[in-house]
């Protein structure tokens, strides 16, 4: 039930977002038309791009510096994976390639690739996630991010799904 409630809440937030985003602009700066609650949550990073999602259930968030991207797996993915017993991540300094696997997660005898949406170089790794993989499911889109990547070209991020599109995609996924 908790899951269902969360998804409904996410869906309604994205419907709100649809009202103000001009259709032609894929990545919009945070607009003044946002409800106060959302505006406050973005108050520290006004220039920040919107969080984007991949068909392989990763999320990517571009920081206000315009080049550092935080990457993780989505709540939907974490729920689908079940009990996570191991997370393998790259090292700082490793290169990641768009469409290539940069790590893997093991749950229920399954080794699942984690795929990078962009080319770049790893500048930070969330080591505590690797230490306690069972916690990854608790906050996969927040504290349990996986890596930060410095990307040369952010254009591919614009091609990814926004929250609304991803929510729809994830609902249809299974």
């Amino acid at each position: 039930m908790a899951t269902l409630f969360t998804r409904q809440a996410v869906a309604s937030a994205s419907r709100t977002a649809r009202c103000w985003r001009p259709a032609a602009v894929k990545v919009a700066p945070v607009s003044r038309a946002l409800p106060i609650s959302q505006r406050m949550s973005f108050s520290q990073s006004v220039q920040r791009l919107e969080k984007r999602f991949t068909e392989t259930h990763e999320w990517i968030d571009v920081a206000s510096d315009g080049k550092t991207c935080t990457i993780g797996i989505t709540k939907h993915a974490a729920e689908a994976l079940g009990d996570i017993v191991y997370v393998e991540l790259p090292e700082v300094g490793d290169d990641v390639g768009s469409g290539d696997s940069f790590g893997s997660v093991e749950s229920v005898k399954s080794a699942s690739d984690i795929v990078s949406p962009i080319d770049g170089s790893v500048v930070a790794v969330n080591d505590p996630v690797a230490e306690t993989p069972a916690d990854l499911g608790k906050d996969p889109e927040g504290e349990q991010w996986l890596i930060k990547v410095e990307a040369a070209d952010l254009a591919p991020v614009n091609e990814l799904m926004d929250l609304e599109a991803y929510t729809k995609f994830a609902e249809e996924d299974h």
């Binding site: 017993v85 191991y86 696997s101 005898k109 080794a111 690739d113």
Partner: protein, 378 residues
Amino acid sequence: MRPLRHLGRRSILHPPPHPPLTIPLTSSRPFSESAAANPSNKTQIYVSRSHDPLTNLSLEHRLLQTSHPDSIVLLLYTNRPCVVVGRNQNPWLEVNQARLGPQSHIQLVRRRSGGGTVFHDEGNVNFSVICPPKAFHRDTHAEMVVRALAALGEGRARVNERHDIVVDRDEGKTFKVSGSAYKLTRLRSLHHGTCLLRSPGLARISGLLRAPGEAFIKAQGVDSVRSPVANVGVEPAAFVDAVVAEFRSMYGGQAVEVDGFGEEVLEFEKVREGYEEMRERAWVYGQTPRFVLSTEATEDDNRERPAVPFESKLYIEAKRGIVNKLTLNGTSLDSPSIVGASIWEISDWATRLRDAGAGVDDVKEVGAWLDGVLATQP
């Protein structure tokens, strides 16, 4: 438990040739990467003639990478004796390495899928199904194998809660006959499993899968779950036929059946690359998740330790099979002969300990002990 009719008759060192297929082949041709990728080949069936575990695993991986995203693929293969650890396992925790190697003719292999450690030999047939992620469910193809076993007269096989196939035998005893593991990529999902049919090696399994370092090692990654195992007691060739028949009845269509390939698949560059990568000790040992070996209880691992043949307290931390830290009685040995060294490159721990400045007794006693507990295959 059924009697093992073939026990002891055949030498495990010289497995017999694979029995000929009895299924009528709609088309038989050599393996082809372009045929695997061809969108018109929706259903593909492969039966490997190779008994080499790395050749078969590498071919399987290549099919995972190249078969058309909408296709469904069945691969069946039998390996010569080997112990196969899961992608995220620790061989020093899972396997008694003294019982492996050239003398015993049992190879140590690390696969790319998840899950626990299994034993293969010529009495075991491996099935592998590659399908689109949307069609993937953990039990679908284990159920397929259960139906194949039922068709062969084993009606008491079923899929359990761990997605393994077990057989309920007399007096309420249940034995595992098949273990499953999965690899999920961007475009494809792979489910592969073992099926013990007439393995002559069952009696050896528990000894092989008991590592001398088990009581001292605490590892990240995946632990195996021990289960009592048994042979189903059917001929491997009949099992291959029955699984192919079930697969066909599920997916119909004109199957591309490729028969009669063996080591020649290694002529495909990418198959060979995968083969070479899996053969590297940097994969077999270097893929090992972080672990701690300690002769004393630690905060993370407060198990009482068995007695060791030396006085000193030994503590080792390793990541990716490389020593990060080694202390004796709390004193760190910071020498490059130990810190930063790959465990699989260390054949003689005494020399390394001496070079790092350890005391005479430790060099001899701890060195000899570590040679056993952190043994590797050449």
